[in-house]
Amino acid sequence: MNQIGYSALLLAVLTSAFGLIAPLVAVRTGSRGWLKSAERSVYGLCAVSLVASAALVYALMTRDYTNEYVYNYTSNELSWFYTLSAFWAGNSGSMLLWLVILAVFAAVVVWQNQAKNREILPYVISILMSIALFFSLMMTASRGSNPFAMVPAGVFPANGSGLNPMLENPGMVAHPITLFLGYVGFAVPYAFAMAALITRRLGDFWIRSTRRWTVFAWIFLTIGNIVGAWWAYVTLGWGGYWAWDPVENASFMPWVTGTAFLHSVMIQEKKDMLKVWNIVLIVLTFSLTIFGTFLVRSGVVSSVHSFGQSSLGFFFLGFLGLILVFSLNLLFSRLDMLKSRNELDSFVSRESSFLLNNLLLVGIAMTVLWGVLFPIISEAVTGNKVTVGPPFFDQVIAPIGLVLMFVTGICPLIAWRRATLANLRKNLMVPGVTAIVVLVALIATGMRHTYAIISFTLCAFVVTTVLMEFARGAWVRREMSGENLAKALVSLTWRNKRRYGGYIVHIGVILFLFGVTGSYAFKQQESRTITKGESISVGGYEVTYDSFDSYDTTEKRVGTVTFTVAENGRFLGTVAPRKEYYFAKDQPWTRIDRNVTLTRDVYVSLLDYSAETGEANVEVRINPLVSWLWIGGIVMVLGGIVAIWPDKRDAQRLAARYERQVRLHEI
């Protein structure tokens, strides 16, 4: 099976190389046959990469330890669920995941565009296939990234090394795959943007044609980031969910620039402006996805998540350089054709607020990039090694984020095209008063954390503005149709999915930030060694040691301590954190347990125990409002799904616009 997998990878190299060249020959010669072959090569790549993936899955599930990758990431004791997730547990498997997702997406793109975008499709295929060629080449040319590399001849291991215990979590099953769906998803709008530049068809059709792809990629990048945070929270045992680690930053940056892109394309669609900026944003977003892949594999920065130091990272750096040189060169060569009329009706308009929002979002992304790269810059300039960690990001990103929250709140209050200050002031009245009431209430109730006060106040402000938008729209619908208010609200949202889906996302973002603020500003912790019957008290909660249990499996030794959680004497429940010791890997691991409500988590880690004395070293953390992070994440994703949901009217508008642009020779 390994030979079949490796042969499929070699075929992937050949198919993607053909798919890169054939469309260009088709354009040069005008041959329909070559174009048809190019399209079939995409389906061919999809088939061979699926065969390679199936071969790896087979090798994993049958525990074929002659395959080095299977040996490194599975063991006889591993459940089938986590055996399947071992597919992307290591470097080479994750490269194959990249390839297969890209191949499937490319096939969907070709299938979607059988009757449209025919002029730019050859270039779209060529660009997507060039990315696929890079990944398939990497897997076949380098032993370290070949998922079908064999253990030395004559060696037949009876058992594998096993999966890293920290990866044995449902979050780590979902996190890489959702993140990659997001990363690779952005390759599609990038390919369309480049194809539009090459063909000089610079209307907004490339944006409209790939809008769903962009939102799709954004949704999955959102899921990937949030599931990653959740995994860190429930698995790593340090009580946090985000540490501004370089690898975390690498997945956060394209999410931020992708968000900026989603906003700025609206301006191009409405006003035919920001054409250059939108191309810069999609190039930046796609480049950052490659940069993230580079960071994980290069070892240039220290990270708990990285695959370790390898020369592979520098191939990614070279590929990233190639993408930037190609894209920016193409962009500069078409600058004169990208000139917009660049007219705004008013200084105070929603368009202006979008520009400000873009500035802040890109500012956040570039600040994070700056923080990731500064240690390298500092060492190059001064020879002095420095670390740029959470205190830097907290202090620099937090104020920018608060301004962005304010802009998010202001934006719906400003009309498109033009608004007056009087108008703005009038619309600000209700949200402004709400925010002031919240501000006063927070201070009056004794809150003294400055950032938290500002953030909670802004949360109230933004949620009020968004809810007002819903309420106004629903009220009008009720007046128009006679529906009751709830039904009017649903039909309003469903008839304007893109707009109200976006607002739902905004509510999700605010709920998320509400959770971030609470858990960041008001967390408390205490750790101590205690025995049966003793308690640890933190923030009004009492965690009492009840019982201890220890047992062995073939894979590990497990020690469990059961604690009672009470608040001011009132019983809330029990938690049972575990301490595990993995024999094969000689590795201890802690499995935390939590008592969860909407207002706080009581987060308990069993740091160590003594089987002889029954003593347990326990850490108890009170993490306020953490649940709202996950709720906010779910709401963000739901909003994205509403915004992306197929809409017949939208499709008709798109078709009509396409025909008009064809008539005007814009595409």
Binding site: L355, F392, T420, N423
Partner: protein, 185 residues
């Protein structure tokens, strides 16, 4: 003629209203600004003081040297050979009356500047702190001038644009909703 006079009067009224609105808005903005600054100052002044600083007052400023690259407080390694003794040492030293600043300095002398979780705000490291805000301010100024230029190019001035009433009568709302949705789509 009468129609012309009415237009002139109407324009004059709008202009008067604008002139009156401007200082009122400026006063409101200044007042809000003053309130925000006063509240922020009070909050800082009212910040509680601790008798013995917690371990996190030092551990939050340091990076664990076990290789995890995490802040010492948050090192995910449960049996960390560097982090656990370091936190114990910090706790003992704080109890003994040593200041957090002195302890941080001790670790810098032992391990170099890279033990700090963030660059110091001195020398070349200042670039790390200043650059993001400087870039944002430059960007904001550029956006301000661009918007101004683009708005002028269109020949419209915000103050001359009549206010589109929103939020009162349902028919106005309906019109606004339809207009906005049409424009948006």
């Amino acid at each position: 003629m009468h129609a012309g006079r009415r237009m002139v009067r109407a324009t004059a009224k709008v202009a008067t209203a604008k002139v009156a609105a401007r200082p009122a808005f400026a006063r409101l903005t200044a007042l809000l600004g003053a309130v925000v600054i006063a509240v922020a100052a009070l909050l800082f002044i009212a910040a509680p003081a601790f008798a013995v600083p917690p371990v996190s007052s030092v551990a939050d400023q340091l990076i664990c040297q076990c290789g995890c690259a995490a802040v010492l407080t948050d090192c995910p390694h449960q049996e960390c050979g560097w982090g656990i003794p370091a936190k114990q040492y910090i706790g003992q030293q704080l109890e003994a009356g040593r200041s957090p600043e002195a302890l941080v300095q001790y670790y810098v002398e032992e391990y170099g500047e890279q033990v700090l979780a963030a660059p110091t705000k001195r020398g070349f490291n200042m670039v790390a702190w200043v650059a993001p805000f400087a870039a944002l301010i430059i960007g904001a100024v550029a956006v301000y001038f661009l918007i101004g230029m683009w708005a002028r190019r269109n020949g419209s001035d915000v103050e001359e644009v009549p206010f589109r009433e929103v939020g009162l009568a349902p028919e106005d709302l309906e019109r606004r909703l339809d207009n906005e949705l049409r424009e948006f789509d």
